[in-house]
């Protein structure tokens, strides 16, 4: 903080040359273009979701909502299957991420301490990052364990990410001084007490980082559900979204999805018309939780990620 403040002071003291001013203007234009490319598609989705279907279909919605209406959201609220899957995803995400964070932290702490056999354990864990049995053996293994088509597998699959584990270990190693451990041992504490009483309370940042990482990954994952689930009532949100949004893919057209709600939405024609806007609404409704989580947590976690990545 002080370093950058100093830098600013310096900049104002020495006047900028003409070349620098040209550079600054170019850089400003560069960033306006970048921000436009990044944000415009998102803005487009937002305004299309609250516009009239006909205006959206004719691509008249470009800068501001046209013929403001909430009929898309109205239609989305009718899609019972979507909300069922929404609840499933909330469950998978919250329970799964909480479990992931606890398991990862406990293991990361252990790996940050010296013990006999540590090299072997580290090697065994790292190895899974570079080699795996492959999709089919993983699938058959889950089926043999009797976990195919259950909620349990949606929680247990991808429980620990090696990358996150390494980030957490590095964080614990670099931010919690070893003297604290020595002092705690002096006072008669063992690993359990030290972990729960000292490490956990000092790990706020890394807990936030891990929660966002695991949470977003779980919320956005559709592939696990695609492979491991058959029962539609267990589907996570992304799997239902897939049917709604990518209608050209193999598993049936999205029109059948929308047609199922024709009775509540004023007939088939009307239901399909609304569906054009409803697709944008689905994107908004499904994406907002992840983005909001990121925006709220970003202060912590950009910092935390840097600690983890730089020294790891």
């Amino acid at each position: 903080m002080t370093a950058s403040a100093k830098k600013n002071q310096k900049r104002t003291r020495i006047r900028e040359t003409g070349k620098d001013r040209v550079f600054n203007i170019i850089n400003g234009i560069f960033w306006i273009i970048v921000l436009f490319i990044v944000l415009y598609p998102l803005w487009l989705i937002l305004i299309a979701s609250v516009s009239d279907p006909d205006a959206v279909l004719q691509a008249r919605v470009l800068i501001w909502p046209v013929d403001f209406s909430l009929m898309g959201y109205d239609a989305v609220f009718q899609y019972k299957e979507l909300w069922g899957s929404y609840l499933n995803s909330v469950f998978y995400t919250i329970v799964g991420s909480a479990l992931s964070v606890v398991v990862t932290l406990a293991c990361a702490y252990a790996l940050s301490r010296p013990f006999a056999g540590k090299k072997l354990v580290s090697l065994g864990i790292t190895f899974t990052m570079f080699f795996s049995g492959g999709l089919i053996p993983i699938f058959l293994n889950v089926r043999d364990l009797g976990l195919y088509d259950t909620r349990t597998i949606m929680i247990l699959m991808n429980l620990v990410s090696v990358w996150n584990l390494m980030v957490a270990r590095t964080y614990i190693q670099t931010t919690i001084p070893n003297e604290l451990y020595e002092a705690a041992v002096m006072d008669g504490s063992d690993h359990f007490t030290y972990f729960f009483r000292c490490v956990l309370p000092l790990s706020g940042t890394i807990i936030a980082v891990l929660s966002v990482y695991y949470g977003v990954a779980r919320w956005n994952d559709y592939f696990t559900g695609l492979v491991m689930l058959r029962n539609r009532s267990l589907y996570p949100l992304q799997l239902v979204l897939r049917e709604i949004l990518t209608s050209l893919t193999s598993t049936g057209s999205s029109d059948t999805f929308f047609a199922a709600y024709a009775d509540n939405l004023g007939g088939l024609q009307e239901a399909l018309r609304k569906a054009e806007v409803a697709k944008y609404c689905c994107i908004v409704v499904s994406t907002v939780p992840a983005v909001v989580l990121y925006v709220f947590m970003q202060k912590y976690f950009v910092k935390g990620v840097m600690i983890g990545s730089l020294k790891g």
């Binding site: 370093a3 830098k7 900049r11 020495i14 070349k19 550079f23 600054n24 850089n27 960033w31 921000l35 944000l39 598609p41 959206v56 004719q58 691509a59 470009l62 990862t104 406990a106 293991c107 252990a110 301490r113 013990f115 006999a116 864990i125 899974t128 570079f130 080699f131 795996s132 049995g133 492959g134 999709l135 089919i136 053996p137 699938f139 058959l140 043999d144 364990l145 247990l156 620990v160 584990l165 359990f192 919320w219 956005n220 559709y222 592939f223 979204l241 897939r242 709604i244 949004l245 209608s247 050209l248 697709k279 994107i283 499904s286 983005v291 990121y294 970003q298 950009v302 840097m306 730089l310």
Partner: protein, 316 residues
């Protein structure tokens, strides 16, 4: 003498083991859930990969099915699409690397040069946002924006006198869509490491350069870029290791009957043969997956060894 050195550690080994257990059992208890996960969900499947060498029959299970040696591998390498799939997988990753790799570096350097702290913070926050969008939604956005009838892109094309293009069905557009959307989603996020490196540069260097009359461009050329090169080389090496890996989940979403000739990559093929097909060919699909994993593993090891020899930068 040699006998002594062998027998001495052995005697104390048992003692040490006993002491280690007494001292470390709590650490093992803390690791237990994670280790159980890795064993059950990573190492069990590695044992199960033997079905690639057997003819899997559900009734007889993994270990009870008949050995067939390399039958499935031969079938795969003799198949008509094998070469095409390797080429598709490789080229998709190669073009992705060529176009995607430099952009985060450029973004990080330019971000570092922004004067207004507010604008800088806003830009940084904004370019990370697409990373948090799911693959399904990203694919959905492509379907919506590039739709031949209602998509905004085709409206712009026809409005300026061009002909509407059915992007998602055109084989030639598969890679541009795939890679372009990937850059849009991840280029911002991938700047993190470079930004962290730039923030770590001693401000005195910039001050000295300013006093010597260096322009901003000079500072980028002589301070920023030399500092970024080691980390960029490491990232490049890392990425080279994944030249044959597949983004199965995204490719699966963007694959249509029209763009198959460019979009059937190995990972998607394993899924469609082994899981999605009406008659799942578990052994055949496992064999393809195993091939792919072994090749990828070999590439990573090779790349790592080369980089360690050449630049002292290595993963492990």
């Amino acid at each position: 003498m040699s006998q002594q050195s062998v027998s001495r550690p052995r005697a104390s080994l048992r003692q040490r083991a006993a002491r280690a257990v007494q001292r470390d059992w709590q650490l093992w208890a803390l690791m237990l859930p994670a280790l159980a996960f890795f064993i059950v969900f990573c190492y069990f499947p590695m044992y199960g990969v033997q079905i690639a060498f057997r003819d899997y029959k559900a009734a007889r299970g993994i270990t009870g099915s008949e050995w067939v040696g390399l039958k499935h591998f031969q079938k795969f390498f003799a198949s008509y699409y094998c070469g095409r799939m390797f080429a598709n997988t490789f080229l998709l990753n190669l073009f992705g690397l060529i176009f995607g790799f430099p952009i985060p570096i450029l973004l990080a350097i330019m971000l570092n040069q922004l004067k207004s702290q507010r604008f800088k913070g806003f830009s940084q926050t904004a370019i990370y946002v697409p990373h948090f969008i799911s693959t399904v939604v990203l694919a959905g956005m492509i379907y919506l924006f590039f739709s031949p009838t209602n998509g905004i892109i085709n409206h712009l094309i026809t409005a300026s006198g061009g002909k509407s293009i059915y992007f998602i069905m055109e084989p030639g557009w598969f890679r541009p869509l795939f890679i372009g959307s990937d850059i849009w989603q991840n280029a911002g996020w991938n700047t993190i490491l470079y930004i962290a490196t730039l923030t770590g540069i001693d401000p005195q260097l910039y001050e000295a350069a300013t006093i010597d009359g260096a322009t901003r461009w000079d500072k980028i050329k002589h301070i920023d870029i030399p500092h970024l090169i080691p980390i960029a080389v490491m990232m490049l090496i890392l990425n080279c290791g994944s030249l044959l890996s597949s983004n199965t989940d995204k490719a699966l979403l963007l694959q249509t009957s029209g763009n198959m000739s460019k979009s059937d990559i190995l990972g998607v093929y394993v899924y469609s043969v082994g899981i999605a097909g009406t008659k799942a060919q578990y052994s055949y699909a496992s064999a393809i997956g195993l091939c792919l994993n072994v090749i990828n593993f070999a590439i990573i090891m090779l790349v790592n060894a080369i980089s360690r020899r050449m630049s002292d930068i290595s993963l492990f």
